[in-house]
C-alpha cells in the first residue's frame, strides 16, 4: 500500500461519484453530471474512466487496462501502474482474470462475464454535440426524445457516401429511450454493448457519467433499407490468422507494406499460446 487514500480519491468524492453511477444505472444511457476532479494526468488521458474505476475498486479486485485493445501502450501501462500504486490492487493483462477492466475505445474480444465491470474512457459523451454545440439545447433534445437530427446526419452519410460512414462512436438507442455515444469504440464493437457485464462510462473533462446495466437493449441507429452493419477491415491477423476480430492496419516497412493485426493484444496472444 501507499500513503494515498485507497484508490487515490478522497471518500466524499467517491460518494459523489458512486451516487452518480447508481443514477446512471437507473436511467441507462442518460448522462449524469458529476463534479469531476483534477487527476494526476491530463484530460484526454482517461481521467473520467480513472475516477469511475477509483470509485468502483475494492482491494480484492484484479484490474486490466487497455488502450485501443492493447495492454502495452503508454496510457494503459500508466493507468495500470497508477492503481497498482494507489490502490494496491492486483493487475493483469488477461481479460478472463480481470474483475474490473478500464478501456479506451475497445471492448475486449473475449466475451465478458456477469462478475466483470467494464469502464470506458469517454472524450465527448454527448452524441448530439457535433450537431448542436449548446449543452442547454442537447439536454432539452434528450428530455423531449428529439433525435431527428441524428437520423438526418446518418441519412446525409448515405446520400453522400452510399452508406453510413460513421465508423466509430456509432450512436445507439439505449433501453428504447436515450440515444447515447458508446465512446469511440469501432462500430464493430456495437453489437457487444449488450453484455452480461456492468458497463460504466466516465467523461472527466465533460463531467458526465453514464451506464449500461447487464443485458440492456442497445440498438445501433439505422434505417430499414440501410441496416446497421458491424464492419471491420477485410483481412486476417498477420500474427494469429484471426478473421473474426477487429484488426488494426499497420505500415510494416519503408516501402509502405501494410498488414493487419488483432487490435486486442491479449486475445491475439492467447490464440497463439
Amino acid at each position: 500500500m501507499s500513503d494515498y487514500n485507497f484508490a487515490y480519491l478522497d471518500e466524499p468524492t467517491k460518494k459523489m461519484i458512486r451516487r452518480a453511477i447508481l443514477k446512471g444505472l437507473a436511467v441507462p444511457g442518460y448522462q449524469v453530471p458529476f463534479a469531476s476532479r483534477e487527476m494526476p494526468m491530463p484530460y484526454g488521458w482517461g481521467t473520467g474512466g480513472v475516477q469511475v474505476t477509483a470509485a468502483c475498486l475494492t482491494p480484492e479486485d484484479t484490474l486490466k487496462v487497455i488502450d485501443q485493445g492493447a495492454d502495452d501502450t503508454t496510457n494503459a501501462v500508466s493507468i495500470r501502474s497508477f492503481f497498482a500504486k494507489v490502490a494496491g490492487v492486483a493487475t493483469t493483462t488477461r481479460t478472463g482474470e480481470a474483475s474490473v477492466i478500464q478501456t479506451r475505445h475497445r471492448i475486449p474480444e473475449t466475451p465478458l462475464r456477469s462478475d466483470q465491470i467494464l469502464v470506458y474512457q469517454v472524450p465527448i459523451p454527448e452524441p448530439l454535440r457535433f450537431l448542436e454545440p449548446r449543452e442547454t439545447e442537447t439536454r432539452r433534445m434528450h428530455a423531449l426524445e428529439e433525435y431527428g437530427l441524428m437520423h438526418i446526419k446518418l441519412y446525409e452519410d448515405i446520400a453522400r457516401h452510399g452508406a453510413i460512414a460513421t465508423a466509430y462512436a456509432y450512436p445507439a438507442l439505449v433501453n428504447g429511450r436515450h440515444v447515447f455515444d458508446p465512446s469511440p469504440i469501432p462500430r464493430f464493437d456495437n453489437p457487444r454493448l449488450e453484455s452480461p457485464a456492468i458497463q460504466l462510462f466516465g467523461a472527466g473533462r465533460e463531467q458526465r457519467i453514464y451506464a449500461l446495466p447487464p443485458f440492456t437493449r442497445v440498438q445501433s441507429l439505422d434505417f430499414d433499407d440501410h441496416p446497421f452493419e458491424a464492419s471491420k477491415a477485410d483481412g486476417a491477423c498477420a500474427l494469429c490468422g484471426a478473421t473474426h476480430t477487429y484488426l488494426d492496419e499497420i505500415v510494416a516497412d519503408d516501402q509502405g507494406t501494410r498488414r493487419f493485426q488483432c487490435s486486442d493484444t491479449d486475445y491475439c496472444m492467447e490464440r497463439r499460446a
Partner: protein, 186 residues
C-alpha cells in the same frame, strides 16, 4: 447519554465493498445481495450500510418511522442533513407504510432525471416471489417481492423520471430502479 453505534472501522475499503454490493443490486434488479453492516438502532444492517456509503452533507436524508432513532448516528457519521419535507429528500428510509405515497418524493426533471430521490425501503423479508420483472439488468425475467406493485408500476411509467428503490431486510439488499417494468400478473 447513550453512546452512538459505530460506523466504518476502515471507511475506504468497507465502503468500497458496500458500494459494489449496492451497484450490483441496482444494475441487476431481482438479485439479492447479502452484506454485513453495522448494528444501528432503528435501521437494518443493509440500510445502515447504504447510508454510510452514499450519504454526506449534500444529501438530505429523510428518516421515517423507527429509522428516526438513527438521526444522531447518521449526523455524526455522515453529516447528512434532515430535509424539511419529502420533496427535498435525496434519500428516504423507512417501511413502505412510513415512507408514505411516492408522489411526495422528487422524481427528477425532464432535463435532469437524475435529480430524484432514492428510497431505502425496510422490508420484513425479500424473496424471489412476486411480480414478474423485466428491463435493463435482467436477462429474461425475474421475480421479486415488492412492497406495492401498483404504486411502483406507476413509478416505472414515469420513466425516465421516477424514484429508485433499495429494498433492505436485515443483511439482505436488493434494488428496483425506475427502469424495471413490472408485469400485471402476480
Amino acid at each position: 447519554m447513550s453512546a452512538l453505534a459505530a460506523g466504518f472501522a476502515n471507511p475506504p475499503e468497507e465502503s468500497a465493498r458496500a458500494f459494489r454490493a449496492a451497484m450490483q443490486a441496482m444494475a441487476c434488479p431481482g438479485t439479492i445481495q447479502n452484506i454485513a453492516g453495522p448494528q444501528v438502532p432503528g435501521l437494518s444492517a443493509a440500510a445502515a450500510l447504504l447510508l454510510l456509503t452514499l450519504t454526506d452533507s449534500t444529501t438530505p436524508v429523510l428518516l421515517t418511522g423507527n429509522s428516526a432513532e438513527a438521526r444522531n448516528w447518521l449526523t455524526f457519521h455522515t453529516g447528512a442533513p434532515e430535509p424539511a419535507n419529502a420533496a427535498e429528500a435525496s434519500f428516504a428510509v423507512g417501511t413502505w407504510g412510513d415512507l408514505g405515497p411516492l408522489k411526495a418524493y422528487p422524481v427528477g426533471t425532464p432535463d435532469y432525471p437524475d435529480r430524484s430521490a432514492t428510497l431505502i425501503v425496510e422490508m420484513s423479508d425479500i424473496s424471489a416471489d412476486g411480480p414478474c420483472l423485466t428491463g435493463p439488468g435482467i436477462e429474461t425475467e425475474v421475480r421479486m417481492s415488492l412492497p406495492d406493485a401498483d404504486a411502483l408500476r406507476l413509478n416505472a411509467a414515469l420513466y425516465p423520471l421516477g424514484v429508485d428503490l433499495f429494498l433492505t431486510s436485515g443483511t439482505r439488499l436488493a434494488a428496483l430502479p425506475r427502469s424495471t417494468r413490472i408485469a400485471e400478473d402476480t
